[in-house]
Symmetry: D2
């Protein structure tokens, strides 16, 4: 813990994360554009800097936890930022959720200035950040990963080293796309259950015992499509039929079902391709890959 | 087991189901428009009828397992069908997956002829049907449920009594909508992971430890939105930001992402409503309900 | 005008249409389930029937103008309907907007009873129906078209003979899909103009001088894609870029843009196919046809 | 014509545009990163610069016609660009199609350096650019518009002054969104016509006489919704019915109809709002505005 840690961005997530670093005894210097946010972590022993430039001057590792791509870009590459006021052998660890293209540019331009780069966006909720139980998806070289690991361990309880720089933010976007899109799907489907007058507790009891929530990714896909096996358990053509019936019922019930409708047309697209219509519905992965000109993943 | 069971429709699912009834010792009379499909179950001791009318004449309970709504309608209500050739106190149990509006009409018109009606569509795969391990979602009055229960127990291992007639097929459509739509979401997201060059096994390892696959319906919703608690853990406005970043990356990677795009616009819609933008993303349920003029479900 | 015309369905459109037949001197017998709707046309000299069956007994040509598929099905094929109470050499002309599959069944089953069938759904608005200026899209054999033409001329000012039975309703669905979907597109785009703070009159002045409203179908397509010429004037890849910029601006402006988003992904799909990315954007027609396994149309 | 015109970007559109400036006798200095593209316009008398900086040093008005936002940003604001090497009272006219947010930043930052800014993206096709018959959508102050007008007149035949800086690019995005989205709608609908087996020439003859292609924006909206009149000619609820029938037919025909499906759900959304269901379908404009929290436009 001999390295000085700079922490820029002390918002709803960043504040508790910095506090946990301070509590773990890290030598900390912090900055937030809203100076009032520095008070709490200062009381835990952190030094307060007057500017990003001052953090860049003092810290060995600089952590950024900021709202969006332009904020991180400004702090890292701006005239008053880390590159301009830092030095070789520093490391910037961006924990914000930003565009991967920005992450890549930050990494490239900082590296050109001799500054290392790690992306380590944060999973889970504010409550977990406060409790030091966050999840981190880390993109880093092996050496850099070792250097930031003690910090991550002070702030969270689950650390995934996803690959080299850029792999952390990309893993987060894939993860959150699924988590959020599934929430919208659930919202549309349970609204249909409500319109149907079903008992919701009973309905959940049923759903929670099927692949509807057990997750294709947990067990079905690793043993099927990801092994290259798309022998039909449940054919794409049948999936198209079932979703069409649900959509028709939603129409009658007056439920706008935007995600469901897009799924239905996606199934129509796959069903219209002779190579897919009769395949297992897990082959939707191969279908989307084929549309995108990608080799489908196999594990 | 004193009742005679008629079974109409001996296809990929119906054949093994009827065979399990025969093996369990039920007194069985079967029919399929494709007569060759009757051979296997006949060898297990089932009588073979020459027509639907003959089944209707002989059976106490008639099971239908047919491709689509018009098929069941023809068998149940057609000139050569069950209503025309059956008798009061018979029971028709439709196990097909059909439109709920058709289910309701079948129930009503058969009831008017004194014939009982149960809908009991089948979950899980052909392999489960063969093994007698199907899942059934049953819509039935209490009495009728008791009457068909021994049959269901001979054919499957999980039996959900979802409510009165019509509740079985409705539960199945809700369940399958989720199971299938989630599969399409997964296909789009994992294709993005592939385009990103992520290691898929590592990515799955991350995803399978978050709400992406643990399922909102298993634990999050029952303790949050379904209790009326939409205090933000993860705000809808933030969900909109993250999905927008994923969509932008998909655009750059050349992945058509129809379901993801519809989800993004749905989030824009919710975010544009002051009552929802700052709520937890589980409040998407309440948002869709509000769009549909429904009271949101609470358990 | 020696034939007796039955008219069933005297609603917002049907009432004025029947009135125009009466004014033109046709021998008319009318029925509506809501008996109060018969008064106006009776005052113009039409006889009032007590039932569909009575209309079927008296009329040579029976016109139906009803809300939806099941209504027409009941009137045409029900126990109290035209088939049951009519006679060979009658003609039923359905002017309702219903499912083409129903139209085909009506035609087939009426023909089997020796009764002719014409579909002639109505374009334009109630005001046009009142003024006798409706537009009709007619599916009929040559003989039947001649037989109904005097009626159509009494009710409207534009008559398209689109092909044999079923071609009228199909043409209407294609036409209305375009008219309505374009309205939604316009709504999304002009909302964006409003969010941009543009002067709407100036914006319309610009738009109304480009292919945005001149219509691909009026001049561009007949001379390009429909002649098999997809040499790029404006490439699909460029169309994808422009719509992506508009979508990004809509995201920033907080406009949910569901149709625009689906268009964007459709362009991503076409752009991802090497056979289409560099083609003129009119080749989207060939792309959708190829997805559907159809030979693209050429004129 | 005493001002020296710099022209940066001599691609498929920029090349012919610069050539037309040269032919009109403008004093021209040009640059393209691909030096071979300068030959043609040099033969027409243009001077060739060795860099963007040289153009910035010599020209009074600098025109940019580049592929995308980052290209224009680099040329305008980069270390080797216009701001760095130009001088007050110069004017940069960007004719590229880029993100409006970038346009706004360019304008602001150039203005801070005393350099004027005009956006004037180009409509119509390459053939029109060659013939000097392009269409321009111009965002400029009144003075700047006067200054660039002679240039625009040398390059095109239709010039719209859409408003202040930024209004040109915004008008283009709205215009192109409509032009392109309508093309996709037409592609889906005419594919349906093809699947229906309709004669396409006859179908076009019908469509081209209705609001399907006459354009809501040309006549219907200016006299209806834009005047605040949404009395129903054709109700949103009926539009929802018709599009649902078309979607159902597309499902049966195996045509994936992504845009049509999103339109259908948008209509379901509007129909579910009591304030809109019974309104004229032109009120879709007011509906989208209400979803986006915008005051609907009135002219």
């Amino acid at each position: 813990m001999t390295e000085t840690i700079g922490f820029i961005g002390l918002g709803a997530m960043g504040g508790p994360m910095a506090a946990n670093l301070a509590r773990a005894g890290h030598n900390l210097v912090v900055f937030d554009a809203d100076r009032s946010k520095e008070i709490e972590v200062a009381e835990l022993g952190a030094a307060v800097a007057g500017s990003v430039a001052e953090v860049a001057g003092k810290a060995d590792i600089i952590v950024t936890m900021l709202p969006d791509s332009p904020d991180v870009e400004e702090v890292a590459l701006g005239a008053a930022g880390v590159r301009a006021h830092g030095r070789p052998d520093q490391l910037l660890m961006d924990m914000s959720t930003i565009a991967p293209a920005t992450t890549d540019r930050l990494c490239r331009e900082l590296n050109e200035a001799g500054i290392g780069f790690v992306d380590a966006p944060v999973g889970r909720l504010v409550a977990h950040a406060i409790a030091g139980e966050s999840l981190f998806m880390v993109g880093a070289s092996g050496n850099d990963f070792g250097r930031v690991k003690p910090l991550l361990e002070a702030m969270g309880s689950t650390i995934h080293h996803c690959g080299g720089p850029g792999a952390g933010i990309r893993t987060k976007l894939v993860n959150n796309l699924i988590a959020i899109a599934v929430c919208q799907i659930d919202a549309e489907a349970i609204s249909l259950a409500q319109a149907f007058g079903l008992d919701i507790a009973t309905t959940l009891d049923v759903i929670n015992g099927t692949t509807a929530t057990n997750g294709h990714l947990v067990s079905a896909w690793p043993n099927k499509v990801l092994k290259g096996d798309t022998e039909p358990g449940f054919r794409i053509a049948l999936a198209h039929k079932d979703v069409s019936l649900a959509l028709e019922a939603a129409r009658e019930a007056g439920i706008p079902m935007f995600a469901g409708a897009a799924v239905r047309e996606s199934l129509a697209l796959a069903k219209g391709d002779a190579a897919f219509a009769g395949r297992d519905f897990s082959a939707l992965l191969d279908h989307v890959c084929s549309l995108a000109g990608l080799k489908p993943p196999r594990t």
